[in-house]
Amino acid sequence: MNAAHDELRHDAAAYALDALEPAERAAFEAHLGSCAECAADVRQMRLAASALPHTVPQVSPPPSLRARILRQMSAAPDASTPAPAVVVREKRGLPAWLPIAAMLVIGAGVSFYAQRMQARVANLETQLRQAQAQVAAAERQTLEARNVAFRAQSAMGVFAAPDVARIDLAGQPVAVSARARALWSRQRGMVFTVTNLPALPPGRVYQVWVVTAQAPVSAGLLTPDASGGGSVYFETPVDILPPVAVAVTLEPAGGVPAPTGAAYLVGKPSPL
């Protein structure tokens, strides 16, 4: 049991994250039943893992989804939906003098009433404009959240892409100690990370290039951090050719449409 424990206790995190292969999972579960230490460990790991759904950008589903879900339930044969209660109002007889009194009141108050109505309409129009502005703002926020979700998904998705290829970049004579790696997926884009780039001269920026058989395509600008590190996520255009190389050059601030400056890093694809 102790030998098994020493070997299996490191699997608690992967178990809580559902990252064990079936055989590993079976072995871990068998051990878990008899090991209080691992069971307590799993409990802690699972507590942390249960928070992960709450870290994703919160996006509202379309309102039609709610209706679909509820319709599906009421369409099911074994679901008995209670009929909506029908409110029946008792009809009461009106006093005979009321129409006359009402006419008098209306006649006397009609101009006052018209003024009130105008003010009310103006007020409602203001509220409508405010509501429209709020709706527009909410739509912008939703769109923004979707973009954040999409980008997070895409960048992480490159690692998991079935067609991922690795491109290691070597530092050129101007930056011998710089190293970089690009993970390229035609479907999901490119993640590029670099270390040890020299500090930028004023008015300059590093530019990352995907070199294809046709032409170099800019994959983005890079301003390294204090240690010369940085990363770029590049969303692959649909019509791009496979990369023959990835390179980093020094360019004027703002970037350029085609490389003009010295190459700092260059690398060619190798199978992953």
Partner: protein
């Protein structure tokens, strides 16, 4: 069997917060065929379920299908929900994650096929064992704090956790993808989760 041994050892707390009690009532109503119960559950948790599915699948149509499936299962299989294992909210989110990952894995078409049985929750799919903390986590502010804790993790720890949870890769596959020894990946996952747990404990009242 393992589940019960595990439950006995860990000693699941049976407490439940106010929102959890409300969720349980809604679930019972939904199971009895009251669409109002389902509507209440959806209104409280539909957004979180949809957002998780969207994050995993990256496709709005697929995320809607998973969300529809989760809430359909919620009232059809309400009897399978066991409040000693976690909150209703955590149960819904585990169903969402499992269904979304099944789709991701099916897309990836791996020969060994880890697509899991749909029929019930296995031990490893159980939600948090602490209903109070899990339900407290529903608050948006806490979600943000955990998000920050996740963002602050060293790159390898964060990537390893996200590849496992959101992409459905196994620890061996993650080790291959990141070109790290398996032992390193295990350690990184553990350290990362410990830090997230610490962030959770910090935000508890």
């Amino acid at each position: 069997m393992v589940i019960w041994l595990f439950a006995a050892i860990v000693g699941f707390p049976g407490r439940s917060s106010e929102s959890q009690a409300e969720d349980q009532r809604s679930l019972q109503h939904a199971a009895a065929g009251d669409s109002g119960g389902l509507a209440a559950l959806y209104d409280r948790h539909g957004r979180a379920v949809y957002s998780l599915a969207l994050r995993i699948l990256g496709d709005e149509g697929d995320a809607e299908e998973v969300t529809q499936d989760v809430f359909s299962q919620a009232w059809r299989r309400a009897s399978q929900y066991d409040d000693s294992r976690g909150t209703v909210a955590a149960w819904l989110l585990v169903m969402a994650r499992t269904r979304a990952i099944d789709r991701v894995r099916a897309r990836r078409v791996r020969p060994e096929g880890r697509v899991q049985d749909d029929a019930g929750l296995t031990l490893q799919q159980l939600p948090s064992t602490n209903p109070d903390v899990a339900s407290e986590m529903m608050a948006a502010e806490r979600g943000q704090r955990v998000r920050r804790a996740l963002d602050e993790l060293p790159f390898l720890q964060r990537v390893a956790i996200e590849l496992a949870y959101f992409e459905g890769l196994s620890q061996r596959e993650i080790a291959e993808r990141l070109e790290q020894p398996l032992g390193t990946v295990k350690t990184r996952m553990r350290l990362g989760l410990m830090k997230l747990r610490d962030a959770l404990v910090e935000v508890q009242p």
